[in-house]
């Protein structure tokens, strides 16, 4: 560790990291464009200038992303000289920037806006027309490039070279005619294009899917875990008007996904906004399913399960540890063992993040003793029983193509069950709506939090299962 003085405070820092990282770790935010902790430092945007004095020499203004840390270095990020240098740099960056913030999707989370505000660069002095370049360059299925907004930090170029190892982007042209493009103007490929929109500090690279969808300051952003594979990337689920999930973005998790996530996970949120969402109970009456309250449906479920008979208990791979424990206990009361439907491996496995296994909590469920069974085997177990409990997000989707026989079904899922033997349908939350624990492919425990509040009537699944279990036990005690 190396001792330096940062804004008058003596601190110990790791000299192998760039100075800007040491500042950040100690709560001093230095403006940056080309610097990104997940990419090699470039040192070209020149915005991260701070004042540094080494060995008692007079202070000079240097870029903090490329300056090695030395013992006894005195760093000051807030001197008038440092501020003036950064302000001047912003003046240059804004010279050709179109300032189309009112129609820019990045507005509100754009660091060109933030730093201009912070450094007081509020007035443009250029008299010349601004640079005219391609405003809507289609870079494939995911990304749209606005070359006019680009400040040429080259984060995207380095991301493609260093992270995805697909060097498809480049800067072309010279001097003030430099622009970002793809080689041969071919579309981008791969499952990691969405990250480009996250690392772009301005609105040059934007997601097609999010284009003109929402103002970012209207989004409520809460952390959660991606449920599309067993990697379990940390995500921020961003919700408009407490209702509609508009965007999923990765959150930094040093041990799991770092700064990145795949496009499969990023864009798998339309089902969260499903209008056919089950928000109350459904109970069978003759050939019909009648709407009722969750509470009444739960009472009816206890009656159905109280009739006795051979039971099957099937969960989904999206169950949290807490829900799986409740389900296992319920299965014990019904004289059976809980299993979970194991989705088949897909073709998306890669070297970066995606594991190719769509079961996000496989590892946790197996540790709790739930056996992974194929959809066909789970359906056969249900068909061979008189009673069955199907519980968890996507459990019904997993069994949709299977013949479930004539067993009396009690289901807990985000939607209704339309199988022949259905007796009671109860609502369950999506994983972004619940508190709980998942174990990822490497056995790392990650917490689910309520990123979006479940609709009224949707009880936490572990609570519903415990209530049902208690009702059965009560009925058993009375009998």
């Amino acid at each position: 560790m190396t001792k330096i003085t940062l804004n008058g405070r003596e601190i110990e820092v790791d000299a192998s990291k760039p100075l800007i990282a040491a500042c950040e770790e100690n709560g001093v935010d230095v403006p940056r464009y080309c610097y990104h902790p997940g990419l090699s430092p470039e040192g070209s945007c020149r915005i991260c200038q701070v004042e540094v004095s080494e060995g008692g020499r007079p202070p000079r203004v240097v870029v903090s992303c490329r300056t090695p840390i030395t013992e006894g270095m005195v760093v000051n990020t807030e001197t008038p000289e440092a501020h003036e240098t950064r302000r001047q740099c912003l003046e240059f960056l804004l010279k050709n920037h179109p300032l189309d913030c009112p129609i820019c999707d990045k507005a509100g989370e754009c660091t060109l806006q933030d730093y201009s505000f912070a450094e007081g660069q509020t007035e443009g002095k250029t008299e010349e027309p601004r640079r005219k370049l391609e405003k809507r360059m289609d870079l494939g299925d995911v990304i749209v490039l606005d070359q006019e907004r680009c400040i040429l930090c080259t984060r995207c170029v380095r991301y493609q070279e260093e992270v995805t190892k697909k060097p498809e982007l480049t800067n072309a042209g010279l001097a003030s005619n430099t622009y970002i493009t793809t080689f041969g103007e071919r579309p981008l490929t791969g499952n990691y294009q969405g990250n480009l929109a996250d690392i772009c500090p301005v609105g040059a690279l934007t997601l097609k899917q999010f284009r003109f969808q929402a103002r970012v300051w209207n989004l409520e952003k809460e952390s959660s875990i991606c449920g599309e594979c067993s990697r379990g990337c940390s995500i921020s689920a961003e919700v408009l008007r407490r209702n509609e999930v508009k965007r999923i973005r990765p959150l930094f998790d040093a041990d799991v996904n770092k700064w990145w996530m795949c496009d499969t996970g990023r864009f798998a949120f339309e089902h969260f906004n499903d209008a056919e969402r089950l928000t109350g109970g459904l109970v069978a009456s003759g050939d019909n399913l009648l709407v009722t309250t969750t509470k009444d449906a739960l009472a009816r479920a206890a009656e159905v399960l109280g009739t006795g008979g051979k039971a099957a208990v099937v969960g989904s791979a999206w169950l949290s540890q807490e829900e799986a424990a409740a389900l296992a206990a319920l299965a014990g009361a019904l004289g059976t063992k809980a299993v979970f439907v194991s989705p088949e491996a897909n073709e998306l496995k890669d070297d970066l993040l995606h594991t190719g296994d769509p079961a996000p909590n496989r590892r946790g469920l197996e540790e709790l003793g739930l056996k992974a069974v194929s959809a066909a085997d789970a359906a056969a177990a249900v068909a061979g029983a008189e009673l069955a409990v199907l519980a968890g997000e996507r459990v019904l989707a997993g069994l949709a193509d299977e013949n479930l026989g004539t067993a009396k079904l009690v289901t807990f899922d985000t939607g209704p069950c339309l199988a022949a033997g259905v007796e009671v349908c109860l609502p369950a939350p999506f994983h972004i709506e619940k508190v709980g624990t998942w174990l990822n492919v490497d056995g790392l425990e990650r917490n689910l939090t309520v990123a979006r509040k479940a609709p009224a009537g949707v009880e936490p699944l572990d609570r519903s299962l415990n209530t049902l279990h208690a009702a059965l036990a009560g009925a058993g005690a009375q009998a």
Binding site: E42, R46, Q88, C89, K95, L152, A175, T178
Partner: protein, 445 residues
């Protein structure tokens, strides 16, 4: 020419000076043979160090000292390289061209000596894209030298191996910046690298590398042959030796001349041995001291010694000693517009200040020259230049663009203001002084 000894251009009078035969007939490669036979590598470095030779690429860094920055070969066994900068693109500069054209073997001998001194097994000569003829001349000379056993394995039976490769640029000024040149040699875009790390530790392909200018290395065989004392007997104490001076602009005899450092710029301009003065009846209005990056100074400063200190005393730089003379028939604002356009075109586009600033300066100078200048423009030029330099960017191109702009405001503010007030340029520019983005004709009516 009288009054001083010449050596740099001494061999070039012969018709076949560029051939091995012509070179050997004038004593070529004899010193190399002696060096390889009788001298230790460190002795070569010592002579160059003692000679006080300063780099001729513009910065004037002591060459011998630069060579000692290479890591100790016993502790750092990595391959090491010598890269020769022949990307001579500074406006006004054409000295390396003469060497590559007329005396390529002199350069090759210097390269071999420098490689021997620093333990480099390979050297790269980078030549600007427009120098096709010079490239072919040098290429032919290398082929001749290789056939004669002067390049390759076991040179002259000494056991010393050295390869020389050539590389042609594609016309970008920025590839003359040493790290930009290394990127270009590696096959990448010529984007200068941030320093540190410096080339001596992390150069070509990450190996220790020394980058020297063509003229610098061309000096080495003379110094090794005749000794450090001899070299110090010419020029000035701090800037010893002779230098190739390029004189262009409104002079009678533009060209490349050899002169000792410290000679008065006035002599270079007026002596019949050199440029022969301005055209009759003209007065010197302004001059660039050493290429466009050094900026324009008023003609009244012409009686100044051409060396690093002398040029500093008038707020300019020696640069590549490429003097551009501008007489009173010319417009300095127009000249500055051309210079600003050059930097706007040649910035690599990495650093924000340089990419946008060079364009901005060009736009303002163009506007002033066209008669569309605004009263606040002159101060805006200073503000832009102060945002671009000094040392605010990865390489010195930003400084090179900011310095002439600053010099312009400092020395010729009145001309700028006159252009702004009177709505354009008084001087009727005939001839194709500035192509492309030049001013519309009505402004010059």
């Amino acid at each position: 020419m009288s009054g001083f000894e010449t050596y740099l251009m001494s061999r070039m009078a012969r018709e076949d000076s560029h051939t091995l035969e012509g070179y050997k007939a004038q004593g070529g490669y004899a010193t190399l043979e002696r060096v390889l036979k009788d001298m230790q590598p460190s002795e070569v470095t010592e002579i160059v160090k003692a000679s006080g030779l300063r780099g001729r690429g513009g910065a004037g860094f002591p060459t011998g000292l630069k060579w000692t920055f290479m890591p100790d070969a016993s502790k750092d066994p990595r391959d090491r390289y010598l890269a020769i900068n022949g990307d001579e693109s500074e406006p006004g500069t054409c000295k390396d061209r003469v060497i590559l054209d007329e005396d390529p073997h002199g350069l090759i001998e210097g390269v071999l000596m420098a490689c021997y001194a620093m333990g480099c097994a390979a050297s790269y000569i980078y030549i600007r894209g427009e120098y096709r003829h010079q490239y072919r001349r040098t290429e032919a000379a290398i082929a001749e030298a290789r056939a004669a056993g002067l390049i390759g394995k076991n040179i002259l039976g000494s056991g010393f191996d050295c390869e020389i490769y050539m590389h042609m640029g594609a016309g970008a000024y920025i590839c003359g910046e040493e790290t930009g040149m290394m990127e270009s040699l590696e096959g990448k875009r010529g984007h200068p690298r941030p320093k540190p790390p410096f080339p001596a530790g992390f150069g070509l392909w990450g190996q220790p590398t020394t980058v020297n200018n063509v003229e610098t290395i061309f000096n080495v065989p003379f110094i090794v042959e005749r000794g450090a004392e001899w070299h110090r007997s010419m020029g000035t104490e701090k800037s010893p030796g002779n230098i190739l001076v390029g004189i262009s602009g409104n002079v009678k005899r533009p060209g490349v001349y050899e002169a000792p450092l410290g000679i008065s710029a006035k002599t270079l301009l007026e002596s019949p041995d050199f440029a022969g003065g301005l055209h009759d009846g003209r007065k010197l209005k302004a001059w660039f001291t050493g290429g466009s990056s050094t900026g324009m100074v008023p003609g009244s400063t012409i009686d100044t010694p051409m060396d690093h200190d002398g040029m500093q005393s008038i707020g300019a730089m020696l640069g590549t000693a490429a003097m551009i003379m501008i007489d009173d028939s010319q417009c300095v604002v127009r000249a500055m517009e051309v210079v600003a356009r050059f930097y706007d075109h040649e910035s690599c586009g990495q650093c924000s200040q340089c990419r946008e600033g060079t364009q901005w300066l060009h736009q303002i100078f163009r506007r002033i020259e066209q008669g569309k200048g605004l009263p606040q423009d002159v101060d805006m030029l200073t503000a832009i230049a102060s945002g671009m330099a000094p040392g605010k960017t990865i390489c010195a191109l930003s400084d090179a663009a900011a310095i002439p702009a600053n010099q312009m405001v400092k020395h010729f503010r009145a001309e700028l203001e006159e252009h702004i007030q009177s709505g354009g340029c008084r001087i009727n520019h005939t001839g194709n002084f500035a192509r492309g983005a030049s001013a519309p004709t009505e402004v010059h009516a």
